[in-house]
Symmetry: D2
Subunit: 492 residues, 4 copies
């Protein structure tokens, strides 16, 4: 392996809206004894073992050691979690069964960077079953389920480099270990957030010669791909999974409930009924937040800059205000703007005692947290990801996650929704890997509508749902093929 | 005026999904003494005056007779309705005030074909105030508010040719009277449904030489324009108002509640709680229907042909079935598919006694009503637009509107929502009329996002809403102009 | 018939919270050409016939003239309405069938005072079928469906004295005609509002010697009965139908949606989304109002005097304010307090232009309407039951129903809900009429829980509902009889 | 201390619906490494310290050792939790302040048995501040927050005997340690579930001579008190806090959301949208469950034995079925009946693979779990309180909490709701302790409405709520005192 200095990535990182917090943060977090991240599903005992996984020599029961995880001994616990997830991911299991004979990914060498959870484990093992070789890193320093990583390492089919609580340096080291291997070169990328793609662009640009395509899931990663494409720098075809119709729709239905329940999880003893809340921004996330809060009985105010979204907020029954109008009276402030410095020190100074402040937007700078790092204010960590910031007069502000984006991706999304995403990712990999020369250019694509419909149809048996078939006469009347696609590609 | 035979339009009409019912229907309806269409707002006494407006000679108080309406004496009642509507249409009034000095429509000769209601009257008088000359026909044979038409005729600024209960022949005659005038030729078209545009294409194609553009509101009309454009036959620029973001969003919010409340109005004594309902089709209208019915406590089943929409229905909590699975048990059947023969005689034969059947889709052929016109079945009209079809064994099916599309457009949409549409129409007319040569080709356009945002901002004062302004720093961060547009044109 | 002067009732009436408006009002209403009361279901043509029913001599086809209604010729229309209602009142039809053999009301002479609608007609004809003789008056001067009254008169089994648009004098005259008959004396009373009971107390107190009991439906009437009972003046047993569990529950479910939809009906073009509304009072009606308004997207404020209800409002997510805090900003003011002078002139002076004011409470004095009858204010009737009150500066307040209680009882309650009430009334009459001497004292009773459960079970087939039966073991465990009653009498 | 054999309680315990599981259960639970009970708020590290608290000698920093808890060293963590709770319990803090001068509980010796959480700690310390001496045990073997118990022991004002994971023997030992003290005898009881009261009845009946009253919170405990009263065995006055209006209302609002979110917490990766669920029983809990599930998009079926509740379910839009009709198709089965053997082995045999079964009712016997303890079925614990029961053919049923009642009381109820209960408990203690001789007999009482209203008013400032005051004229009109009580005592 080539020697690379990872620390020099730090500065660059600070410029990008990324999923990692600052180094100092990760340290303070790891000191906290109870991270609610782990939720009910984690069997990880993190307290007694302080050795870094990078310094451990572990082998699985077959003697293979080409992985780096917390503790291979947790494999059994992880396998059970994967089995539970399999039950809620029938489409992937069906895909595994249907496509297994033909091994449509035979010869595929996939390098991946996603959350390492039971659900993605089902995806990875499906890709293996379809013929692919896989190497995998985590796209988030906190979200890895260590026992699942152990099960994958034990299974031996996916080479996993990930653990919960990586440092920033660890993060890039893991990605590098996936990519930078003697005698093995990836020909497909599955990315979530664009960090893996970014790393290859920076360090191993020549690898793209052999890469057949990128499948990207996140809004951020897709945005970067479009920018690369616009700049003429995208050198392989990419598939935008995030905007696949079926993924989009189903994420929508879940966004509505997620933000509030996340908040609830963090601060379990708050009652939302009657609480006054201001939500900054009425885009997709803001709309979801507001609807969930209203359903729980909160009194919700909205701020917006765009008159169209503002009018929607009004007609949906939310008072449209400037932040300063309500800042003294609200109990909770939530930012969902994608903008920066939406909540500044001046606003924070005026909030009332006990006000909760958090960020559910796209950037980590929506709340100007740096302005709170001044000598007269005292910080007190009361729970994992919950700080009290205390003013000289005793007023306390409750700041969640130090103003960073409350991570929504892995904690509260039901397995079934993840199943739709994962199935789409698998089909996108198959499509790009098997596409005849020239079908896809160096551009960003959506999955063909017909495959979208196939993903959907794979999930219908779960609901014992019975699809109606068009008669010949009806198909003719509508100008459609009886087997679809039923919607034009531009349909939303 | 040139002599034209209107009756020959009948056959052609039958081929198109149109807003007019069959001739026989309109006769049976007009015999009915209470048409719930009139709702609370109509002061029209239709019972005593059987003379056709075409046979009357009426003049307004200024001696002008270039109109054709039911009864000019109702003008005062209509004026009051218009004044009430003005209170809920502040944006149009603001537009009237702001743009009045410059008369941006000076010289415009607008021919229009829309519902003739208090709300469109406010639009017409705004267009006049901005400098335009207007001639207007109704886009629906039932929806004209006669007293409003009278007020417009009395005001003298809009030449109106419309009354409630037109025959099909009347319908085309009125349109022709708007267009076919000695010494006056339209240079702008405002259409709702495409019938006016269609008529000019058929009868006076040369008129398009002077026409600067078409503004079209309805889904159907927009669809036709796109077809014309695709076929290379669109000879002037057209503006698609229906898909303007602000119009789209606000119509959405209202679609959700409209279908059910329309049903409710027709059959006031039905309780929806606990009723089993099957909704055929889970597109926009179907989604709205299902949500409203669920909120009212109905047990809702859905049929779909498209697996993506089917999956949405499942995740939204509706059982996806084939129609035959539930047809024996349901209390209400609603079609919203855009397809034909979705409910056929075989289905109708199996329904239980008292089952209500209605169509909220896009076509009049979703329910195969013709199959019910057989000797062994008895039809009994019990209320306006409500028939009992009686089987030999005494079973009754309650058929609404003879299976035609329940008209949603004018009866239940709040004035404020219409205000958004009307303001967008006015701005679209101004834009097309004043656009420099070459900005718009012979194609179908959406209103520029910036004007969309302007329409929205004109409606914010109603809600006492306070928009937040971007700081310079934030605008730079987001790469936006502080005054908008805030969203890219493709944003939905 | 004894001669009685009815006009002297007027003064007394003014003291009571009653369902009749002032005489002057009824006149102004009857001048209005479109009363939205009639809704879709009325075939009555009221315009051409100005003769008072009291001055007409009508006979039905059997030569019987012992009734007083608008027009016997409308009987066929009314019969159709009754037949439609029968379809939604299966329990009453089942009762008719089951109990017909034994005629449990043979010998009963029932005098009734309720709304005269298709639904009560089904009740009356059921009572006849069970053996009773009936004489009936209307409990509300506006709510009679003339064609239904005609059908009842034609059927000949119920002697009806009622028409739409009675004067106050007519109202008492009709009641008297029911009671004051040569050679016929009632032995049962079915009342809705207590006016009939009141009349007999006043004029014919000796009649109570033969009366076996009173069945009363309304809150107001029940309240009066409890007062009589408390004062030791109740001289026969009375059954409180309003608080029967099954009636109560089902009315609840409908109260939630009724107020707003009533408002909607009155003022069809108002959009509730984003409107600011203050609801005075958070009792049952207030809660229903607030929930419905919130669901429609309104921003709702609440005023309360009782800290318990106030806390509920807070926890349900409504801001608790004093009226003066929000009076300048709200779009709609709704009173539901049961108190008087809740909205006074000072409040009205401060409302903004276009503010809608209405009363959904229990008394007609919640809004101090008399304070608006001053010379500087102009009243303008814009629709039936909708007035604009205009301030010297042009400000308009929209006052509904002149501040009287918006009548909820007959216009918007689904037939099925009325079926539950009517079935309960029928069972209550049977119970009181057949009860062995001594079971009921001179007190107010609730229907025995077991009969309540019977009413419910009669309605289950409509929903194809399958009740679970207790096993012997389970019944023993719970200490219940397998056939009920399942709940103690005090259960709510 | 007198020597008492605790094990002999076991048999008796089995007869009662209690909050403790069987002994074997508690063992299996304690073996589970992650008990989701602890939720986010527990700092307890239970893994390393296996010594029973009963065998430890601990003293607080003042040298006092009259308590028995897990670990006195956790006191600081617990104090912080208490401080956080204080912020959400303003009414209790206000009460502490207002009543502190007069010490209304001076001389009170309170023995309590409740959940030991941060919220009850605020109550205990309030009682101390008001003058009382307190000794406290836990009412549930799992629910104690060890660090809070430590903080209370350290504070020294409440003598606490409780830890998380008590055995059944520990449970009664702790209660005994509270009561059975040399030179100290309680004169007030605060109970939650009736176990403390029961113990004193059994072991120290003579203590009741000095006891002034019992304040009881739980449904179960209140039920027992009413039974004692009925049997003439209640020897002191008791206050039923559970049915206090303000407590009742507020618990209601929270019951609606609790069951589903509890389920969600247990099995985080289940999506409820589109899942078919059967809820057995449509009482208070069942209604809440159904509403929450419907809101989350589940398809809900209901079973009922009582036609009244059945009809409500129908009108609320749920299909009423017998369990056997749907048992093969449902994804989730929830019991809320209060009955026994509602789900039996035959039903379990027919459920489909993956079906989730749980009990939210009042008894632990609703699901016949004992029938699943047969050799051919394999039990597999997959998470804390989640078992897979595996049939020979591989079918798995997911059984929650071994069919015992999912404990709702402490995990998901917001602090604010608990504040209302705690304030009511404090006022009830003050009322009973200070009541003049003879005001309360040996019976079960509700808190006077006026004190109920006082509890409510203490909570209004949290919402910045402004109560309206009656004018003299209005108070007279309503026949009320301006300061309340505003509702009659029977008002619900």
């Amino acid at each position: 392996m080539k020697k690379i200095q990872f620390a020099d990535q730090k500065q660059e990182f600070n410029k990008r809206p990324s999923k990692i917090g600052r180094r100092s943060l990760s340290r303070s977090i790891s000191q906290s004894s109870t991270d609610s991240y782990s939720s009910a599903a984690s069997y990880t005992d993190s307290s007694d073992d302080e050795t870094s996984p990078r310094d451990k020599q572990q082998k699985n029961s077959k003697g293979n050691g080409d992985f780096c995880i917390k503790n291979i001994k947790q494999a059994d616990f992880g396998r059970r979690e994967i089995e539970i997830a399999e039950q809620e991911m029938p489409a992937l299991m069906a895909l595994r069964k249907r496509a297994q004979g033909e091994k449509p990914l035979a010869g595929a060498k996939i390098v991946g960077c996603t959350h390492i959870t039971a659900q993605t484990a089902v995806l990875m093992e499906t890709l293996s079953a379809l013929g692919a070789q896989c190497r995998w890193a985590a796209c988030n320093i906190y979200s890895t389920q260590n026992e699942v990583a152990a099960a994958l390492a034990e299974g031996g089919e996916a080479h996993v480099f990930a653990w919960k609580g990586e440092s920033e340096d660890d993060f890039w080291w893991c990605i590098d270990r996936c990519v930078n291997v003697e005698g093995w070169q990836p020909n497909m990328i599955l990315d979530d957030g664009g960090d893996l793609t970014h790393w290859i662009y920076k360090k191993y640009p020549s690898m793209f010669k052999k890469i057949k395509g990128i499948v990207e899931e996140s809004v951020t990663g897709v945005h970067r791909l479009y920018q690369l494409s616009k700049a003429g720098k995208l050198c392989v075809p990419a598939m935008n999974v995030n905007d696949s119709l079926v993924v989009f729709n189903n994420m929508q239905c879940c966004k509505v409930n997620t933000p509030a329940s996340t908040l609830l999880k963090r601060t379990t003893d708050v009652m939302f009924g009657g609480k006054q809340v201001v939500v900054c921004g009425y885009g997709e996330v803001g709309k979801g937040c507001c609807a969930a809060l209203k359903a729980m009985g909160s009194i919700v105010y909205v701020t917006e800059i765009d008159p169209i979204c503002a009018l929607q907020a009004c007609m949906d029954g939310f008072r449209l205000v400037k932040l300063t109008e309500v800042i003294r009276q609200v109990d909770i402030v939530i930012t969902c703007t994608g903008n920066k410095n939406v909540v500044v020190r001046e606003n924070l100074d005026r909030m009332k005692n006990g006000c909760i402040v958090c960020n559910m937007g796209h950037s980590n700078t929506e709340i100007d947290v740096s302005s709170l790092r001044t000598p007269e204010l005292t910080w007190e960590r009361v729970r994992s990801q919950v700080d009290h910031v205390i003013w000289p007069d005793g007023k306390r502000i409750v700041l969640l996650a130090e103003g960073r984006l409350l991570n929504l991706s892995c904690s509260t999304v039901p397995t079934f929704v993840l199943s739709i995403t994962a199935t789409t990712q698998a089909l996108a990999l198959i499509e790009l890997y098997n596409a005849p020369e020239g079908r896809y250019k160096q551009d960003v694509y959506l999955l063909p509508k017909k495959m979208d419909e196939y993903v959907a149809s794979l999930h219908l048996p779960t609901f014992d749902a019975h699809l109606t078939e068009l008669s010949d006469e009806q198909a003719k009347y509508l100008g459609l093929n009886k087997n679809g696609p039923f919607k034009p590609n531009y349909y939303r």
